[in-house]
Symmetry: D2
Subunit: 165 residues, 4 copies
Amino acid sequence: MSKEYSKTPQLPTSAIARDEGIKAKTENWFEYFVKAQPHHTDYAGVVWHGTYLTWMEEARVECLRSIGIDFADLVAIGCDLPVIELSLRYHLPIQLGTSAIVKTRLSETQGVKMHWDHQIQAVDTQAVYLTGRVTLVGVDREKGRIMRQLPPSFQDALVKLVTNN
Amino acid sequence: MSKEYSKTPQLPTSAIARDEGIKAKTENWFEYFVKAQPHHTDYAGVVWHGTYLTWMEEARVECLRSIGIDFADLVAIGCDLPVIELSLRYHLPIQLGTSAIVKTRLSETQGVKMHWDHQIQAVDTQAVYLTGRVTLVGVDREKGRIMRQLPPSFQDALVKLVTNN
Amino acid sequence: MSKEYSKTPQLPTSAIARDEGIKAKTENWFEYFVKAQPHHTDYAGVVWHGTYLTWMEEARVECLRSIGIDFADLVAIGCDLPVIELSLRYHLPIQLGTSAIVKTRLSETQGVKMHWDHQIQAVDTQAVYLTGRVTLVGVDREKGRIMRQLPPSFQDALVKLVTNN
Amino acid sequence: MSKEYSKTPQLPTSAIARDEGIKAKTENWFEYFVKAQPHHTDYAGVVWHGTYLTWMEEARVECLRSIGIDFADLVAIGCDLPVIELSLRYHLPIQLGTSAIVKTRLSETQGVKMHWDHQIQAVDTQAVYLTGRVTLVGVDREKGRIMRQLPPSFQDALVKLVTNN
């Protein structure tokens, strides 16, 4: 199985530069709540930089569930959604015990690519801990290759998600 | 403690766009070997996208050790190096059991910021699994603030690392 | 700093054998809900065996919060609660996307030791995924040593927790 | 798929009590080296208690490789080896930056069950950080059930491992 996500080994292009084409129109975010537990932290007493990837993944899965898409079902019918690009900026550390909101939005789709924006904020203030963009691509699990198109029912649901934003 | 890493909550700028100023001159990489163990994988049978952050962190720590800098000592004298920016592109999935090389290079420093390039490759072929850039910043642990300058001995070692590249 | 948790390097004694002395009287459990997200799984498509430790830790932290103890506050006043013993039995695998209940109970305290029982169950059936016991001990963070006694307010709250069970 | 590992939801029995029957005869251990990296630690500045499970898993995989068994191949031919029981005792914390030896030994097999002993020690002193026993069982991936017997070539290799000990 040799699924190649991207032909040319370049460094990632900017999340900002990509902000063109069909994209989310409003400021509506899906909100997912997390709390900084001991296992999320490192020696510095704050959330380890990789932990945020677990939170953003959970937020995307729950955002999809909110429009009727069960991620495990998608996998079961042979459609996987690996991450192919990731651009994050860490603004403020999150201390042990802190609650935060992971704001999540499917900002645009390009064929079988989905660009998700994330913003992690404090619950009580406007403090922003992290901003980032994560790009997923539809992969045919059996063939191990990028799909030509997403499963129709999934595609329809996504369009609604982008338009609703 | 309110260490703010970055004033304006923008999305990350491109890793490529930042490629100006003092930077590494050659293609010399520090090489760190890893193997895809069961706990690194997810349901898709390949390495989970967040696992790569653990490997790149290990590679940076060992790269610093190779020039005589012990990361734990640095932390002990009050200098922390949190990640403030991360841009990754995933080119090919890594299967369970696969060995890979994490190529690591301090490509440039800007004051107390360190930009590290990473390239994860197959051991036996030229296949590239991931390319990315990770930016760290020197933080004074006691004050919880970005340092004005890195500890002199650390700064000196880093300069050598960039020039050697 | 040389905090030694246990003098003689023996293998763990049984969770069952230890069931003597002051212990929880009833079947009341604290319940904490989790869901098997992609990052919790491994190549086998089910939850990786180490993931359960994150869930049980979260459940203990939230159980303490339910009786007014903020774990981060406890750490801030210099009391840490490392795990010193762990006995788990895995009965059934948990598939990607599955919701589960982490049932948690402080079953007994012995001086500064706390024995917690855990049972992870299906939400809709009586299926049991995991049973286990986790023992924590109060450590003075500054001295790096096991405490002679837990902070009084914490001890009082714990007694209530055991009696309420 | 309903692979049930264990019928009765009891708490784990003691690792010591199980020490009967065919078992390893000598003190020969397989040794696997690890280092406490930033991502292995938690807010307390020491290795998080769940991290040890990743190290012991890696040590078992590499121990099997040392007798010619490739774990990924085993999975590919349909044999999985999930953990069904785990008993750990944490003796001393491991500080950031510390190197350690994960000593690993297949102490006995019972049908399709494999009992592994682990002891994590300091590299330079005799200090013991952790002792534990982990039990795996052979599962037929396709049927999702515990195997009647392990694949013959695997079984043969294991016998040698136990006898060599």
